[in-house]
Symmetry: C2
Subunit: 186 residues, 2 copies
């Protein structure tokens, strides 16, 4: 595992900086002695402050009942260094194996929620369930990020963006157009 010395707190209204470009994330959860990780690509930032993120977590996943019953999860941001783990976690079920042990990932205690963080990831967003009104109909969970941490470097991590069919787009060139934005639109 990488240790936590190069982690800094992320202001909660800046979570979009990490999640908005649509990276593949790893959702970790725990409830009553069980724990799990799932690979997830269906999420959207929903508000700055409070910091809300909506996720589709299919009821077919072992994680579904863990996040629903505990009302918490951690959204972890992996980089290309974890590509094999991202795929392996997506390919397997928590009913059959403990994914932390099997994939050699470190469950690190979160600061504000019961669910564990995945220490090897670039950033961690600790979440509490604030709106479950669309869970039955659409498997859609609305989370409030209540604590967030990210590594200070690299500023733009090489995230994975799934495009279907086993193909990922990797985060590419950074273009800065700050000078063209109205201040209130940044």
């Amino acid at each position: 595992m990488r240790d936590d010395v190069d982690m800094v707190d992320v202001p909660l209204d800046r979570v979009r900086r990490y999640l908005e470009p649509g990276p593949i994330v790893l959702v970790s959860s725990a409830c009553e002695g069980e724990r799990d990780i799932m690979t997830l690509g269906w999420h959207t930032v929903m508000a700055f402050s409070p910091s809300l993120v909506g996720c589709v977590i299919s009821s077919g996943n072992h994680s579904f009942e863990l996040v629903r019953r505990s009302g918490t999860c951690v959204i972890n941001l992996p980089t290309t260094a974890l590509t094999a783990e991202v795929i392996g976690i997506g390919n397997s079920s928590g009913t059959e194996l403990d994914k932390f042990d099997y994939f050699g990932l470190t469950a690190s205690p979160a600061t504000a929620v019961e669910a564990p963080r995945i220490a090897e990831c670039h950033a961690h967003f600790e979440c509490r369930l604030v709106d479950d009104s669309l869970v039955d109909r659409h498997d859609f969970f609305i989370w409030e990020v209540v604590a967030a941490q990210a590594r200070a470097t690299p500023a733009y991590p090489e995230t994975l963006h799934y495009t279907g069919d086993g193909v990922f787009m990797v985060a590419g060139e950074i273009i800065d157009r700050r000078s063209q934005f109205l201040l209130q639109m940044l």
Copy 2:
């Protein structure tokens, strides 16, 4: 404008191929003689079939009432060729100008909805509102994509992914890990 000769239909359950990596999109709408475009980054794929996409469209946007009243929109996918337009549309309000005219974009009739497509974009997803239960609370619209078109080339368009602060990440390297996926997970 680019013309439509290199456009092909996209199977509706493959819309994720374009939207899941979290690209910045342009949402076009029309209602009772008014039309508008907005820049949007807060969206998520929600289901394959029916093809559902959820979007946060803030009630502060001129587009909000147009999409709510008409119950339709088109989600258009721009590439880096339209970076200046993406920023300009995000910086301006449809209450003050017609964004099609002002930005020199072509409103092309959609095939299945009242809202116009933006001809210059790489792909068009024509949408009908299917669930507005979270509009009042979270400005969250759930759309069913009822028709979809994309240019046949390039296979991986150079999309824009907003990271806040006027900075975009551009779609980068493509890595194919199909051989590592379980077939049912593709």
